[in-house]
């Protein structure tokens, strides 16, 4: 949007803590906070590490691979923009954090390996979703 200042664009939702997450999403990189003291990943972002109370939180790019921790196929036409059936899920990233997400590209099951994909959005950063890894 041409009328937005660069500053507003840097915080697309007005949340300064999550701004680096969405800036990375614009580059199609999935990032999570990582504590420089204890090494734990933390998602969503907080001003310090809930595990060790450490102050030095850095943003680290994650691989974008993980496992479906739970999922539900929605058969209700209740949410604007979502045509049933579609799959809502929680994916456990290999680095540890869980993300609420969608599984796209066909049938899936709990325990399936998945990898990152991006859903473009009008006027907003793309949204991280997941698809099944190719069978090897």
């Amino acid at each position: 949007m041409s009328d937005k200042t660069p500053e507003a664009r840097a915080e697309p939702f007005g949340d300064p803590l999550s701004a680096p997450f969405w800036a990375a999403a614009e580059r199609r990189e999935l990032v999570a906070q990582r504590c420089e003291a204890c090494g734990r990943y933390q998602f969503y972002p907080r001003p310090f590490c809930l595990s060790c109370n450490g102050d030095r939180m850095a943003w680290a790019t994650v691989k974008g691979t993980g496992t479906i921790y739970s999922q539900s196929v929605v058969h209700l036409a209740a949410i604007p923009g979502f045509e049933p059936p579609y799959t809502v899920a929680v994916v456990a990233l290999d680095e540890g954090p869980h993300l609420t997400t969608n599984i796209i590209g066909g049938a899936s099951a709990i325990g399936d390996r998945v990898r990152l994909a991006w859903r473009p959005r009008e006027g907003m950063p793309p949204l991280p979703v997941f698809e099944k890894e190719e069978k090897r």
């Binding site: 539900s72 929605v74 949410i79 609420t100 969608n102 325990g111």
Partner: protein, 384 residues
């Protein structure tokens, strides 16, 4: 033996109008229930000095206080979802036993069936964490959230759709015995499994009703409970906890805050699950009842599905549960928690009519709250 001030009682309970309520507002429903519950306690609104409400609008206790003409010495509008009401007994116990108030009124009413006001989408404000990280994925509140819990439970423990359906059938079997139940038609496991799929694994009949309804509960000191027109029921133990708001923040979807709530309540009561004669678990979804049974210690982790088989929770079963028909068949006015307490008290007074559990002496109400089992709260009650 607990000192007198540490002995707290429920001296009155009442439902508001239930089902589809055309001729009242939420506030007038609360007023009717409050007057009736206080009548059972031998009191009127003028005796109330503690007010505990949730979901009654902004600054809920202030609005209800004005409507009822109550100026409380102790006010509480804590919102931990549908589990708030068992938590209010916990809070009222603390307030009464420490002398902050003596007559606590807990009240709730909703017309969510008549008003069709329940939102389906959460996180529509992009500023919020929910709006950024959960809202954009099309979760249908709260069915798909609870479906995620049930799906994981099935995956880890081999829980079957039939076992979850048995919970709905059990609730219906109790509802047949309660003239106030919203639906009393016969129901079989096959009927549940043939109902429309909503969000896997939950079908329509795995999900609670959406009705109008509400109620009121009067909690008071031992001294004031002596005035009660009906038998007062002792509050033996209370507990509460909450663990998360977002699905992504749950590390283990087969655990819940209910275990901590139950442990606190049973620990305070000095008794355990083997002592319970009647259980009122919050049955918003069939699978949630399995979690409650495990959290309360009636069975081991993962064994809730096998536990409910064969009508164990039903009329004549070893652990009578959801005895008014539950949120699945009796009434689910958005927040069921207050109705669990009301039914447990009626069972312990031996005034439950055709659904009365014989010789019931110890009853438990166990609440759940939040769109994805964020909170739980437990109340252990005794007939003395």
């Amino acid at each position: 033996m607990a000192a007198d001030r540490e002995q707290v009682y429920i001296a009155g309970v009442a439902e508001s109008p239930l089902g589809k309520v055309a001729d009242h507002t939420e506030l007038s429903m609360v007023a009717l229930a409050a007057r009736e519950a206080l009548g059972e306690a031998g009191m009127t609104l003028k005796d109330v000095d503690g007010l505990f409400v949730n979901y009654m609008g902004e600054e809920g206790s202030v609005q209800v206080g004005e409507y009822l003409g109550i100026q409380p010495a102790y006010a509480d509008s804590t919102d931990i979802g549908g589990a708030s009401f068992e938590a209010f007994v916990n809070h009222a116990f603390a307030a009464i036993s420490s002398g902050r108030c003596e007559v606590a009124l807990i009240a709730y009413a909703s017309r969510q069936r008549s008003r069709r006001g329940r939102p389906r989408q959460m996180g529509t404000d992009n500023y919020t964490l929910t709006g950024q990280f959960e809202g954009p994925y099309g979760l249908v509140m709260p069915i798909s959230h609870y479906a995620l819990l049930a799906a994981r439970r099935m995956h880890e423990f081999g829980i079957t759709p039939e076992q979850m359906a048995e919970v709905a059938v059990t609730a219906r079997n109790w509802a047949k015995l309660n003239p106030k139940s919203w639906i009393r038609d016969p129901l079989t496991i096959a009927d549940v499994l043939a109902s429309p799929m909503m969000c896997t694994p939950y079908r329509k009949l795995d999900c609670c009703l959406i009705t109008d309804g509400g109620g009121a509960v009067v909690v008071t000191s031992k001294a004031r409970a002596r005035d009660a027109a009906k038998r007062a029921i002792r509050v033996l133990g209370t507990g509460e906890s909450h663990t998360h708001w977002h699905a992504s923040q749950i590390r283990d979807m087969t655990a819940s805050p209910g275990a901590a709530a139950a442990q606190a309540a049973f620990g305070m009561a000095g008794i355990g699950p083997d002592d319970v004669d009647v259980l009122e678990p919050y049955d918003n979804f069939t699978g949630a009842v399995l979690q409650h049974l495990e959290d309360l210690g009636f069975c081991k982790r993962g064994e809730g599905g096998a536990f409910v088989e064969g009508g164990r929770l039903g009329p004549g079963g070893a652990l009578p549960s959801m005895t008014m028909g539950g949120g699945l068949s009796y009434c689910h006015p958005g927040a069921l928690g207050i109705l669990l307490i009301i039914e447990a008290v009626r069972q312990l007074r031996h005034e439950a009519g055709a659904r009365q559990v014989k010789d019931a002496r110890i009853g438990v109400a166990h609440g759940i709250g939040g769109v994805i089992h964020s909170s739980s709260s437990t109340v252990v009650l005794a007939r003395e």
